[in-house]
Symmetry: C2
Subunit: 372 residues, 2 copies
């Protein structure tokens, strides 16, 4: 199966299915800049999306703004303005502004539910469902994965604040009452998805730390007895120099159980920040073992709404629902709108290669004298 875009994804003709115009701002002094990167799940016969809604204050030409949630009791927000052209200001990235070594976000994100009977037309709730809370979410909460474990939905999201970003955990059974469990993986970590069942008696998770001196932004696993505490961290898949996933990789939504193992859809970015989706196949009984990895993206930014927007050339998915051989991927396009596409699991499996050992986390035996 392939559509006009030339990859393995059959995009919804209705794309984009949710845009900022569909989302009511959370406060009268904010506008919705982007709606993106939804978690996805089924509940009570409907499809739910947990959208990331990124808001910012009204823009003035002479100023660059950043926005921070207060955590000192009053639950308001603070707008920080920087004069455009200030030599101490770096505003080259539309998502982040850096001033004298301190980084701020230009938007503040919360999570909001949207519901659909057909999986295509969604009605977005009028109010935020989950907002940042406490001192470690003052820059917002983002990019939530939703994994169903029995009757419990397990939400893993990025908690962002001035001192870093880690993975927060919230659980719910009814999508009305939510329980917060704090930060389960410390900074710098994001792109974290819990497996939909225990393996070898333990919960498992994929996560994405970012290392500075050694390594980079790779996919790791960990295990847990209780979802709250995690250990046995292992690096299982690394960026591939010179390829489409050379700069950063990170998990999408929960891996999908197939007859061949756990199929994990992941995102990869290259050195020019172009984000595509690819696939990994993990051993059924030992998901720290990568059996196979797709050589090429299974989906890449090609439609107009994927190439142009708030941050162009991005397809990024952290939510999908599965029906037999079909996986419906919900994804953020250009960090600005929400879209949908269908992929066939059998087609994803078909194009996998046994994993190239040179891409495994252990560095291969180096050339004894690379400069001779």
């Amino acid at each position: 199966m392939s559509d006009v875009q030339g990859d393995l994804a059959l995009r919804f003709p209705q794309n984009p299915i949710v845009t900022p115009a569909d989302v009511r701002p959370s406060r009268p002094d904010l506008t919705v800049q982007c709606v993106l990167n939804p978690g996805a799940f089924r509940y009570d016969g409907r499809t739910g999306l947990l959208l990331r809604v990124a808001e910012r204050p009204a823009q003035e030409p002479a100023w660059v703004t950043a926005v921070v949630r207060r955590s000192n009791g009053s639950e308001g927000i603070e707008t920080i303005r920087f004069r455009r052209g200030d030599p101490d200001l770096d505003a080259s990235d539309p998502r982040v502004v850096t001033y004298r070594g301190d980084a701020y976000l230009t938007t503040l994100s919360h999570l909001r539910l949207a519901w659909s009977d057909d999986g295509i037309r969604f009605r977005v709730d009028e109010r935020p469902t989950l907002e940042g809370s406490g001192p470690q979410e003052t820059f917002g909460i983002e990019d939530c994965r939703v994994t169903q474990l029995g009757a419990t939905y397990c939400l893993t999201y990025s908690a962002v604040f001035a001192r870093g970003y880690g993975v927060g955990l919230i659980t719910t059974q009814d999508w009305v009452h939510f329980e917060r469990h704090g930060m389960i993986l410390p900074t710098p970590n994001k792109d974290s998805a819990v497996f939909p069942e225990k393996i070898g008696g333990a919960y498992r998770i994929l996560h994405r730390p970012t290392s500075a001196t050694f390594g980079g932004s790779d996919i790791w696993t960990a295990q847990s007895p209780d979802l709250l505490h995690w250990g046995d961290h292992r690096c299982i898949a690394c960026t591939r120099p010179g390829q489409w996933d050379s700069a950063r990789i990170g998990a999408g939504a929960a891996p999908i159980l197939t007859d061949h193992g756990w199929l994990a859809i992941y995102h990869g970015a290259d050195d020019s920040n172009r984000y595509c989706l690819g696939v990994l196949l993990l051993d059924h009984d030992d998901p720290t073992r990568v059996i196979a990895r797709g050589p090429n993206p299974v989906m890449e930014p090609s439609a107009d709404y994927e190439r142009r927007g708030f941050f162009g050339n991005v397809v990024f998915s952290n939510g999908h629902v599965v029906d037999g051989d079909r996986v419906t991927v919900y994804y953020g396009a250009s960090d600005e709108v929400v879209c949908g596409a269908e992929l066939q699991i059998s087609a994803l499996l078909d194009q996998l290669n046994p994993v190239d050992k040179s891409m495994a986390p252990t560095r291969p035996a180096p050339d004894p004298s690379p400069t001779q």
Copy 2:
């Protein structure tokens, strides 16, 4: 109490107490470059140090070398040589060599026991006690904290490999048999010490992640039901711009229980990589709460062996033993030799200030228009 060096530490007149000349190489083709950063403990009436021994191959003038442990079954090591002056080579840091974006260590570290009856004169074991093992320790193991929990000693150390560095856990009861528990905190993390008792029913730890986009190298806490799995990560103390601990801070050995709370000796580095020791006081029942923080270092590089060496201007401690009001700190000086000094707990407490709220992890309400 103060000695001629002008800080609160009374240095051993015998310093340095262990030097590379006291340590037999682990292999005939390696030399011991540095012995540093010991964990410290009492066992069976003696004082034990778990030294970090950093080795490297014989040096040739025209080459810069790095060294890696194999993890593919054969337990050997690999030397990588780079031609000095190669434009793709950055060898400006004696500890790390970077070639075409990949970082390597110039030395390979293992851990080795040394024993003493008087806490001053140590006999170093002939062979390594613990070496790197498996794919996530190919660059060695470093800087072990030792915490006694009942009859069990809990060893937390830096596990280093090409894709990052995390915190590994090993336990022992007799210092002969050791049990490895894998990586308990993922990359990039080090400087991790377990508290010597449970608090509120949970084990507690201090750790030091390093964040890139937001924040930096701060001290965090976490808690655990079993020492193996960790959650509820919180940033509790941050670097202080313009001060002696402006660039990086990290825990020393296990915090010391006092009548006023948990006294944590930590290291801080400034922007010129000068490493000093300072102190934090944490709430007895809630060690995520910083009660007070020392304004100045309690120990700073001043003796000749602290100012000159493999990496000069460094005092770094991850091991101490406590007798009443006296804490004997064992420390690495200039990343090259092991030294000892005494500090009085009462004197450390006396110079503490109630914590400056502006240094707390939550960024203060920002100036609404800092460039106006």
